[in-house]
Symmetry: D2
Subunit: 306 residues, 4 copies
């Protein structure tokens, strides 16, 4: 069955107290474990132990954890990955808090991806018996869960091929230079199931190893406004939105955490399917693809990665 | 990869002209082919040839077509289904318009399911190159696509086991008599990917072979109101809603087509995952599970199937 | 300038503790003063001292306070009211907490209306200098303010004439038996400004002196769903909705407080204007006028008043 | 009763065909009368003959028509205006199509305001007997009506005083340099009823006689997104939004018509009241007041008027 979703992400932050305040009071994630310079967080609708890990010291992404459907998937993926000659190692139970053993892969784009099958299930805040649709004690934006990440690459085609062949992702949408060069990916949106993207890539010189953003999932357009209202109250810098993407049709705000990592709140978007014809965006339509309503992009959007 | 989604549904209607008018002018589906007593329709965001087929003569469901991810899946499923001893036959290219060969299975619940891998791709109304987020010429509700079906069963556990074992569906939510009998399914919501249900079952004496409803997918809560406004203008009988489900958290209106088949417009709901703990609803909370806001159910909801 | 809005309402409740919990934890009004058997509440966006007063002992409405624009209005209204021969008296400063003197009128429908010009201004929860769009500490539904009341009458035409002639209200919409009897009001929606109704009347035998409902104002359709979700969590009985009114086009849920008084959450609706042609609803379209989406009315809706 | 609302606005456009296409196909206003170089339009929910008049030749506002509640208001206003020494003349029936006589005033800010009491009532597109909540044949954004205008002034205090004293507007919100200079209006939002603004003023050198924008009223946040989607499809330049105002709390997009006149789609906002304490915004919070979510203003927003 392969890789099914982004399960956790470790992110560097410059000031752990400031970051904790932001992710808990503004985003509304729950503090699961506080180790001082490292904290573990989760959204109210997530059932595993944690999803966001903040580590003090700089900015940028440390590693991403993707869940696999079955324990056996790890071996299948390991075998396939070998043919690409990427750096790879087995990780042990305990390498990650409350997480069993797994596989640590260095993508061609140099990002560290950990594949895991078991993390302690601590349950969501509404439980699994006759659950309410949300808990009463939401804070700030009250984000229920993480959604996806967009990573930088010096060569999207190379990493995209790896993710499709080894992780069995499929390509939902693709940015190409023009209709004559549809085989050249300048950016790619990859999914394993029915969501518009579980992992996306964007190309740029020196982008490898960098994070463009990771996203929190909200439900719909009214939640995007609510998130924007909270961001205003908490002086969160917004880069783009509220708007809709042409790509994935998701509703969105891009913003920065206090350390300068870009984040997104992302809602709905269409139901992706493996046999849905891949949508092609040409580079001259990129602004419309990202920011459908306004058709503009801040320069930072394609130049600032952390 | 197995069965991925509801691809088409054939439904009986008492008056084809009246039905055509309803599904095209009210629901907003496009007429793809008109054979007089049988018509083929599709939503603006569907890329295959058709999804809803109306056939004059009575009411109720004739058959449902589920798409499989790979041609090879047909053989795998055939082999697994044999162990259940269900009636089954190969269907030929041309048995269904613009559809290649496949597999026709009679579920333990006596419903006919056709599994297919190839239907002619005619494209969506917004195309695949730099697409707009919707076409300008929407009619009525403007539903983009079909979503799922809920079928009646005399014995849910039996058919549920078949669908899980043979179709590789997983159980997202389950209705049980009480917490002491969590292994008894009175209703079940089954998914193959990240959607709350691709196929659901509800138990009742004499329900086998019957349709509770099939659903059109809308985007969000504001679209549900818009659908309700159009239903009011067109005198469509509404059974429940606008409301939210506790089960799946989808936003919904249940209504009847002019022949008396129950339909639903269904929007958002949470992202299902194969490893998400199955949500359990006890029978005493059924009304809240179906109609979260009002916590009431019309008697017809659990007694009228077609 | 005349009467401008519903400023306060005194309502009887059977159990003051239960009522306090409902109006504060579920509706989200703030407790301003607690006198034990009588409590004063206000919404976060109201600037005067209080708006809802709950008094233990039975159910139903005790009196309604309408604000007048200028102190002089009281005399003008007193003079006009005299020609109708209704019971009337001056009320003194202190008759109502933090409220100056005014005029107490018994409507032809026997309801007590108090007209006042001055209540202590305590300010809204967001202040008046560079205010945020809502306060962070909302509870439950978080209703910002009261909106309107619908009162019962044995003879709508009579009280409607009084309210138009004396209070200078104008008629926004009217329910009539049929197009041949447009001068007979079975129900009427009266406004003083741009809102769909500041006071409405509905006719029925024995209705005089009774309350059909009073409403809390929310902003929009997404807030109506949120209110419904909270009502579900708190087991609040819902009579109708979420739906839209044909009359006023407001979005709505009707529900009951723990004592059995009917309340409404009401959002948007069109901008009324004094010169907008009065909308006429014929009795055969009443269900559509009240419950536009579903076109049904619970029997209680037109028979239960408190 | 005084001045009640913006009834019509005459705007210059550079190319009448292009403008007609924009206001009819994109905004969705109806063409009422086409005189070639001048066209009369109205929204589907407006009952008078017309509201927007486009005249070929340049850009900017020609004049605004405000409706008065009673014919007698014209004389009262004329008498009050005389004390200000502004230029003023009676206008005759027929000066404006389907409009009776009235009063033409040159504001201190040099804008031409026409006050009128009678325009032919042609009815809205949903009629006044058991009306539907919108007509089925909406085009583009489908804006139901005009809302307000924001005019430029070299001296806001002067014109504001005129509008309050003569038109009996009241001040809902005010922009001031700082809390020590709350009597200096840099911008003002004036209302006659319950809406956040019927007429607003913004100060700048050389602004007198100029238009900042005029607005179309939509219902709610989901309609703002829909408007933005249509603007994207029709290549309409957007200046700001979708966002919410801190001032009025309205939801908004600012955009330009093909001639370069700024327009706005504006939805909900709070219910204004004459006795609600005037909200004060200090100049250092202007960006938050206008663009609450993002807290940024394009330079053009405070420099480009037409």
């Amino acid at each position: 069955m392969g890789v099914v979703r982004l399960g956790y992400i470790h992110v560097r932050v410059t000031d752990i107290e400031e970051a904790k305040k932001h992710y808990c009071q503004t985003v509304g994630f729950r503090l699961v474990k506080d180790e001082g310079k490292r904290v573990f967080l989760k959204g109210w609708d997530e059932w595993e132990h944690h999803s966001v890990v903040l580590e003090e010291g700089g900015i940028g992404v440390i590693k991403l954890g993707y869940k696999v459907a079955k324990a056996d998937d790890l071996e299948v993926i390991e075998a396939k990955a070998k043919t690409f000659g990427v750096a790879m190692e087995r990780m042990s139970a305990g390498d990650n808090l409350e997480t069993a053993d797994g596989l640590r892969i260095t993508l061609p784009s140099t990002h560290t991806i950990e594949l895991y099958h078991n993390m302690t299930v601590t349950g969501s805040d509404v439980g699994r018996i006759n659950p309410d649709v949300f808990p009463r004690d939401l804070v700030g934006i009250g984000a229920p869960r993480i959604d996806h990440a967009l990573l930088g690459c010096d060569n999207v085609n190379e990493t995209e091929k790896f993710l499709i062949d080894v992780f069995d992702f499929y390509q939902v949408e693709r940015l190409v230079p023009d209709l004559e060069h549809q085989d050249v990916s300048l950016a790619t949106w990859l999914s394993s199931g029915n969501r518009g993207h579980d992992l996306a890539l964007i190309q740029g010189e020196g982008y490898s190893g960098k994070l463009h953003h990771f996203a929190f999932q909200l439900q719909e357009w009214s939640d995007i406004l609510h998130a924007g209202q909270i961001m205003s109250m908490d002086d969160v810098p917004i880069e783009m939105g509220p708007t809709q993407h042409g790509i994935t049709r998701g509703k969105t705000i891009y913003y920065y955490d206090p350390s300068g990592n870009r984040n997104e709140v992302f809602a709905d978007g269409y139901t992706a399917q493996r046999d849905r014809p891949t949508i092609i965006w040409t580079a001259d339509h990129l602004a419309k693809g990202i920011n459908y309503v306004n058709r503009t992009l801040a320069e930072a959007f394609t130049t600032v990665l952390t």
